[in-house]
């Protein structure tokens, strides 16, 4: 226990100290209220039990002790109790209580007939008085006791000391005992005061610290709220819809309010509920769920984005894209962003169509050349037949004349000779041998033209909005026809088309993808063979692998350099010279195969040897896994 006073206290510490001391004094005051009253009751009981009556013969009257206890006790308590009630904190009140308490000791000693045990009341009273935490009150108590001892010790020493004619030292001995107790109590008060001052100082410092912390917390809270409000305004005033989903229950723990406006979602049904399912297009629910399950099973922290369709309350279909990532520290929580890409999809469709037409346009010269050759065949063949028919007509005329002359009985020998000469001129043998060939060639040529035209028609036809079942082998063949002029000078094409089922897809887009890869392969081979006159080889294979079909397009070009292998699918990335390519080809291939069809495109390459591109397409279309979706 510290015996030294703490350093200079702050004003607040002093306030706390005074408050604590006042609290203790008030507590002591309340205790004394009870004690004074109890002592009064005790005095009346003692007086009544010990000496209730005084007698004169057979007559009795109330003993003076009883009157003393009732009236004297009331008088003794009057001022202290009155002050304790009206002025509990006044210094004078404490002194008045001290005087009354010590007087009670004298009264009780008297009522118990000087009983030695009752004298202990004095020492107990001093301790009680010390509860006021005021050493001056101890002084008052001691003065009262000393005055009583002194007075009675002089006048009736036996009542104080129990003997007649005590020495003066007896008074000092009594005084010493009382002083000793007061001294110990005073030391205790001082020590208690020091502790209380230290506690008050500590409390004041803690209060100060608390205020500072509270101020900081309030400031931080204000900043957080401002930041939160700013963030909220930022998040909820865009056309992107942030959300949070619990993968275990497949419910949204949060979805931004603009979802109603941007996505047409019924927020009352969606937040915390499973109502989102009714807004996902029926045909995309399986794929959507598969994406979630993949996110749940994989440890990948983020997805690149997943496109699907949503249906709003009015039945309108919107194309949306969701990007999400797992929440750090919670493997079951996804946070993501969904945007309406309907307009973008329309533009992509138009762009794709434009690109398709651009491809068609680019290929037009080649196609025209391809058509021109068979048309030339047809033209030459038809011309030959025309000339042959002209010659045959002259022969026929000669034979007619001969026939007429023979029928008329005229000399036919000369006519026969002219017919023979006409036959020789017509070269009938040659005619009979070559006209069928010419006609065959014409039919072939027309067939080729028809094939090219049909292929072009199929290629350039806009896609249906829904997927259809497509024979990929046939599509590959059509595409190869269309692209003939791109590769025929630099490469031979071999096809190894396996037994594959029809694939649910957008046929036009798949054709576009295959065309882009084939054209790239032709360009790669062309860069290698240059003007050497040699040709490379483009091999197209199709195989079924489980629930996918793989189209492998291999070339014998120079391969893809390692430095750029990671960028070949990047939009607008190209190694070709200006005017020869826009860098969109492989980007479009990836967009079509992966994003639109949920497939996969990758490649194997060896520098100097060539490159093989693999296009993997799901047979049943995007989201092929059959999973029940609870709405």
């Amino acid at each position: 226990m510290s015996q030294t006073l703490p350093p200079l206290l702050s004003g607040r510490a002093r306030e706390i100290f005074e408050r604590d001391v006042q609290g203790l004094r008030r507590g002591a005051g309340k205790a004394f209220l009870v004690v004074l009253l109890l002592q009064w009751v005790a005095a009346m009981l003692i007086a009544w039990l010990v000496a209730p009556y005084t007698w004169r013969g057979a007559q009795s009257s109330v003993h003076q002790h009883v009157i003393l206890a009732v009236v004297g006790g009331a008088a003794l308590n009057s001022i202290p109790i009155g002050l304790l009630v009206t002025r509990p904190d006044a210094r004078f009140t404490r002194h008045a209580v001290a005087v009354a308490q010590m007087m009670w000791a004298a009264l009780l000693i008297h009522l118990t007939g000087g009983r030695i045990e009752t004298h202990f009341h004095i020492f107990v009273s001093l301790v009680m008085v010390a509860l006021f935490r005021d050493p001056w009150v101890l002084v008052t108590s001691t003065v009262v006791v000393a005055a009583d001892h002194l007075l009675r010790g002089v006048l009736v020493p036996q009542s104080v000391y129990g003997v007649v004619g005590p020495s003066a030292l007896r008074f000092l001995e009594h005084a010493a005992w009382v002083s000793c107790e007061c001294g110990v109590l005073a030391l205790g008060l001082r020590s208690s005061r020091v502790s209380m001052l230290e506690n008050a100082d500590r409390e004041a410092r803690l209060e100060q610290m608390n205020h500072e912390i509270e101020a900081q917390v309030q400031e931080r809270t204000r900043q957080l709220e401002a930041g939160h409000e700013r963030f909220r305004a930022l998040v909820e005033n865009t056309n992107a819809v942030p959300w949070e989903m619990d993968l275990r229950t497949r419910t949204f723990s949060y979805i931004a309010p603009q979802a109603g406006r941007v996505l047409g979602v019924d927020l009352a049904q969606t937040n915390g509920g499973r109502g989102i399912w009714r807004h996902i297009h029926r045909d995309d629910r399986v794929a959507f769920l598969a994406t979630l399950e993949t996110a749940a099973s994989r440890r990948d922290q983020a997805s690149d984005g997943f496109d699907y369709r949503m249906v709003d309350g009015a039945g309108n279909v919107r194309h949306v894209r969701s990007m999400f990532s797992r929440v750090t520290g919670d493997e079951w929580l996804l946070r993501g962003l969904t945007i309406d890409v309907s307009r973008q999809k329309v533009m992509e469709l138009e762009l794709r169509q434009a690109q398709k037409l651009e491809s068609v346009g680019r290929l037009a010269a080649g196609v025209a050349h391809e058509i021109n050759t068979p048309v030339q065949f047809v033209s030459d063949s038809v011309r030959y037949v025309k000339e042959a028919v002209a010659d045959l007509s002259e022969l026929l005329e000669a034979y007619r004349a001969l026939t007429t002359a023979a029928l008329d009985g005229a000399e036919a020998k000369a006519l026969a000779g002219r017919a023979r000469a006409a036959e020789d001129d017509a070269d009938v043998e040659y005619f009979l041998e070559n006209v069928p060939v010419a006609l065959e060639r014409s039919l072939e040529g027309l067939g080729r033209v028809a094939s090219i035209v049909r292929s072009m028609k199929e290629f350039a036809h806009p896609d249906e909005r829904e997927m259809t079942c497509v024979d990929l082998n046939h599509a590959i063949q059509s595409t190869l026809i269309v692209a003939t002029n791109e590769y025929k000078y630099v490469a031979d094409v071999e096809t190894d088309l396996g037994e594959i089922p029809k694939v649910t897809c957008h046929g036009g887009d798949v054709n576009q993808a295959i065309l882009n890869v084939v054209v790239n392969a032709a360009h790669a081979i062309g860069d290698c063979v240059g003007a050497s006159g040699t040709k490379g080889r483009i091999t197209v294979r199709t195989r079924q692998q489980g629930d996918h079909v793989v189209v492998a397009i291999a070339d014998t070009g120079g391969g893809i350099p390692e430095a750029i292998r990671g960028r070949v699918f990047d939009p607008f990335f190209t190694t070709k010279e200006v005017g020869r390519g826009t860098g969109q080809g492989l980007a479009i291939v990836r967009s079509i195969v992966q994003e639109k069809h949920g497939g996969r495109v990758d490649f194997e390459t060896e520098t100097g040897k060539g490159t093989t591109f693999f296009l993997r397409l799901p047979i049943e279309g995007r989201g092929a896994k059959k999973v029940e979706v609870a709405a």
Binding site: H65, S78, S159
Partner: protein
Amino acid sequence: MTISSISARRALVGAAVAVWVAVLVAGVASVRAYSFAAGEQSAAPAIWPIASGIVRESGSPTLLVFVHPRCPCSRATLAELRALLPVAVQVEAVFLRPDEVGAGWEKTDTWAFASSLPGVRVRTDVGGHEARRFGVHTSGQVLFYDAGGALRFAGGITISRGHEGDNPGRRALAAALEGHAPPSTPVYGCPLETSREAR
């Protein structure tokens, strides 16, 4: 609150406290006065009265203590007597029973206490005749007659009403038991006789 009202209030409180202190002092004085107010005492017979109904044992000193059975102060007298209890002395505790009361009135806790003292005979003084014969008016008075029947001591043996402890009366009795003749001492107790008005 104005300065004048504060001053008036303080003056009022000061006056109340002064009155209180005065009342306390007066109370203390009153208590002291009562406690040290000795009872009536007359001269006791110098020689044992032959007419007394109390029979003295021949050759034995006799000590009488007269007690009002319901006086609260006399218990202290008996307690002081217990401290002395002389040997070879006939000790008689004479308990008053006024005429106005019935038998058994005197059989109180004080009677039982006196009965418990070794060597003390307890007797009833019906009507207070013995008390009058010996000139005793106040409860707690002690009379000591020597073996020859001469009075050696008459007085009280407590310091004040109902208080035990060393006192001049006890010392005087002790001196008388040793053969001395100390002076009389005040008796503190209840009067034995009913007032004339009450009779």
